[in-house]
């Protein structure tokens, strides 16, 4: 029996392995690319040049960084709970990588078309909070512990507006599958969900920022007060794992935002359809959103814990709830007529 490459790849165990490798490759590269983008973006915002020595225009800087981090010793505090301490980066990295499995990159290009992909996203990303708590608890440092407690409080609180904003998308698309959500937004940018669900788009964006612990919600890190928070004791590759998972989470939030509210791989106008190359649209939109994350990162100061909670519970959640009723009412009226 002669198998073609496609048949070979469609054989389930192989498909699983290959797609797992592909996702890992993607996530690690995203981390590298985003580090580079972040450095360059911050440099231009701050009247600097940024890395420009390693490789052409400094493009190989992430590779040099990884090389350096590999050669560094993995230090752990004397009284650290070593199992928890070492497992924490993994517990952070796996969820950041796993959600990419259900992400539709282009028409037909999705590794697993789960019919509950949105639930999968919600469930898996909340594991990330566990990693933060493990890191802070395992390091046995007051700074880490404070960072971890802040992280836990923040990530759990902001999951509420995040999920509430997802409800609007689910109602409009009538499906929990991300492929269906993207397909439902076809036919030009005025069909994308960010227009009818504008408040929810904003809430998802803000809550997403908080979920990935970026400025102005980087309280768990708080480098000027608790000097890195839960990751203060990490060094070398364990630290790199945490960083990679943070960047992967950032990319994931941007990609999720694009998929749910900005039409995924759908081109903005119909005649711009690139067929199988529609992943370019997906990539462009994700890159744009990621850039706005970085733009915010280097422009604004950090909120305080009580202000953060106020924003989450007193503004984002009510805004979501109100708009949920508006959308539901509008759907009832429009479908009834």
């Amino acid at each position: 029996m002669v198998w073609t490459v496609v048949e070979y790849l469609n054989y389930e165990p192989w498909r699983f392995l290959v797609s797992f490798a592909a996702v890992l490759f993607l996530v690690l590269n995203i981390a590298g690319i985003f580090t580079m983008a972040e450095r360059k973006a911050s440099a231009y915002i701050q009247l600097r040049y940024g890395p420009n020595r390693v490789g052409p225009r400094g493009l190989l800087q992430p590779a040099a960084d990884v090389l350096k981090l590999f050669s560094k010793e993995n230090l752990s505090p004397n009284r650290a709970d070593l199992w928890i301490f070492l497992a924490a980066p993994i517990a952070m990295f796996i969820p950041a990588a796993a959600v990419w499995l259900v992400m539709p990159f282009a028409p037909g290009a999705v590794i697993v078309d789960l019919n509950i992909a949105i639930l999968f996203f919600v469930a898996i990303t909340s594991i990330g909070a566990l990693g933060v708590i493990m890191a802070g608890y395992g390091s046995r440092s007051a700074f880490s512990l404070l960072g971890a407690l802040r992280g836990a409080a923040q990530m759990i609180s902001y999951e509420v507006p995040l999920i509430l904003s997802l409800l609007g998308v689910i109602m409009l698309a009538g499906s929990l599958s991300l492929v269906d959500v993207v397909n439902a937004q076809s036919g030009g940018f005025w069909h994308w969900y960010f227009l009818p669900l504008l408040p929810m788009f904003v809430v998802f964006y803000v809550a997403g920022l908080a979920e990935v612990k970026r400025v102005p919600f980087d309280l768990p890190e708080g480098e000027s007060e608790i000097v890195g928070g839960y990751m203060v004791e990490y060094s070398g590759m364990t630290w790199a794992m945490i960083q990679a998972s943070e960047f992967a989470m950032m990319g994931l939030m941007a990609a999720m935002n694009v998929t749910l509210f900005l039409g995924g791989w759908q081109p903005p106008l119909d005649f711009l359809d690139l067929g199988a190359f529609n992943w370019i649209w997906f990539g462009l939109k994700t890159a744009l959103l990621t850039f706005t994350f970085q733009w915010i990162r280097w422009s604004v100061p950090r909120l305080r814990m009580d202000q953060l909670m106020d924003l989450g519970w007193k503004i984002l959640v009510p805004a979501c709830l109100v708009w949920l009723f508006v959308v539901a009412g509008a759907m009832l009226v429009l479908q009834g007529s």
Partner: protein
């Protein structure tokens, strides 16, 4: 076994707050205890080497003890063993953000001892450089305040300004930080050719950049307002009681400025306002700093427009041997009133030199107003005081 005294001492050193030592099993009604935390001396937001022993109830600070002395370099003792002119480089290293005012205070004290007559051009240049020094210190302070609030970018904008002033200083004094420019009897050298024009151009440029690059970006930010309004609030009585000077005092509404009320040097001839604010919080201190930068610009323009001609160094003889007695030099440094007390025994080295740096005194604020605030509020309060490690430890 350690003696009880030794045990308390070592426990205090290891970061245990004394309240816990007196009663180690303090728990509240939920069975929760407070967390002791030692912040610093190696901490990015501690303006150098300061250690805070904190007792935290959740994120709220219950107790805040300051431990100073990690950068003690015995400036006062070294000063006793050097000849009068050789002390100036030492004063440079006290407040390394505003060196020129540190030199100025010491030189004023020695000149009072000598009863020396200073050429007017030297006086004007001193005031000119002193005001540049103030801008060079105030603008990075605003940047540091933002850095401590979590915004990284303003500090680089601030250092762009500092860098340009440093270029001017380099042209005038030959050094970028440790100037050794103000000498007993005048200044080291006259302004080089073309430098007054360069200063004028820079000041004009800064006046234009100040609004868009600092004021609009910072004051227009809601998070900045939320983080600083009402934080570190103190009354004017409290500030006076603690002996605060400089921006922390003026932001409570008290109008005190050595330049205005005890004028020295060229400041008698200058027209400027003392900037005050009524709020007494971090936001007010930021506004006072911006206002003072504007006043400094105004003063520099006045000096440059009306720079007297003549010598820049008085002839005080080769060896400086003041008669017995003491002299006090008071200047307004960027952080508050800086006073130097020099006692002479008639020899060519000072008998005793005391530096009254504003940072040491202003630092009391931490113990007084931090308790009750949240942990992240310590950083903006540090920005309000804006201490420099070298200056509080000496």
């Amino acid at each position: 076994m350690l003696s009880e005294e030794r045990r308390i001492e070592s426990a205090a050193l290891s970061g245990r707050a004394a309240g816990r030592l007196a009663n180690p099993d303090v728990r509240d009604e939920f069975g929760l205890e407070t967390l002791d935390m030692s912040m610093g001396p190696q901490h990015p937001a501690m303006h150098g080497l300061l250690r805070l022993i904190l007792e935290l109830d959740g994120e709220t600070v219950v107790r805040c003890d300051t431990v100073m002395g990690y950068l003690h370099r015995s400036k006062e003792k070294i000063s006793e063993n050097r000849m009068y002119p050789a002390v100036i480089p030492i004063t440079d290293r006290i407040d390394y953000m505003n060196n020129i005012a540190m030199e100025y205070g010491y030189v004023l004290a020695v000149e009072k001892l000598l009863d020396a007559e200073i050429p007017p051009r030297a006086d004007a240049i001193r005031a000119l450089m002193n005001e540049f020094g103030r801008i060079m210190s105030h603008i990075p302070s605003i940047g540091f305040l933002m850095l401590e609030l979590g915004a990284f970018t303003p500090i680089l904008y601030a250092f762009r300004e500092r860098e340009r002033i440093q270029n001017i200083f380099e042209a005038v004094t030959g050094a970028r930080m440790m100037f050794h420019y103000i000498r007993i009897g005048g200044v080291k050298a006259d302004l080089p050719e073309g430098i007054p024009e360069q200063m004028w151009n820079y000041i004009e440029g800064l006046e234009q950049r100040l609004q868009p690059d600092f004021v609009d970006l910072i004051e227009g930010n809601e998070i900045f307002i939320a983080r600083t309004r009402g934080i570190g609030k103190m009354t004017q009585e409290k500030a006076v009681e603690m002996g605060l000077t400089g921006v922390p005092l003026r932001c409570t509404g008290a109008e005190f400025d050595v330049r205005k009320h005890y004028p020295y040097g060229w400041y008698k001839n200058l027209d400027f306002d003392v900037i005050t604010d009524t709020e007494g919080d971090v936001e007010a201190s930021y506004r006072v700093r911006i206002g003072e930068v504007k006043q400094s610009i105004r003063m520099i323009k006045q000096i440059l427009e009306d720079l007297p001609e003549g010598e820049v160094m008085a002839d005080l003889g080769r060896r400086i041997r003041p008669a017995e007695g003491d002299g006090i030099g008071r200047v307004e440094s960027a952080r508050g009133e800086y006073a130097v007390h020099v006692v002479s025994d008639g020899s060519d080295t000072p008998y005793r030199v005391h530096y009254r740096t504003p940072c040491t005194v202003n630092m009391q604020l931490l113990q007084e107003i931090v308790p009750g605030h949240y942990l992240p509020d310590i950083m903006p309060i540090m920005g309000l005081i804006d201490p420099v490690s070298g200056a509080w430890d000496k």
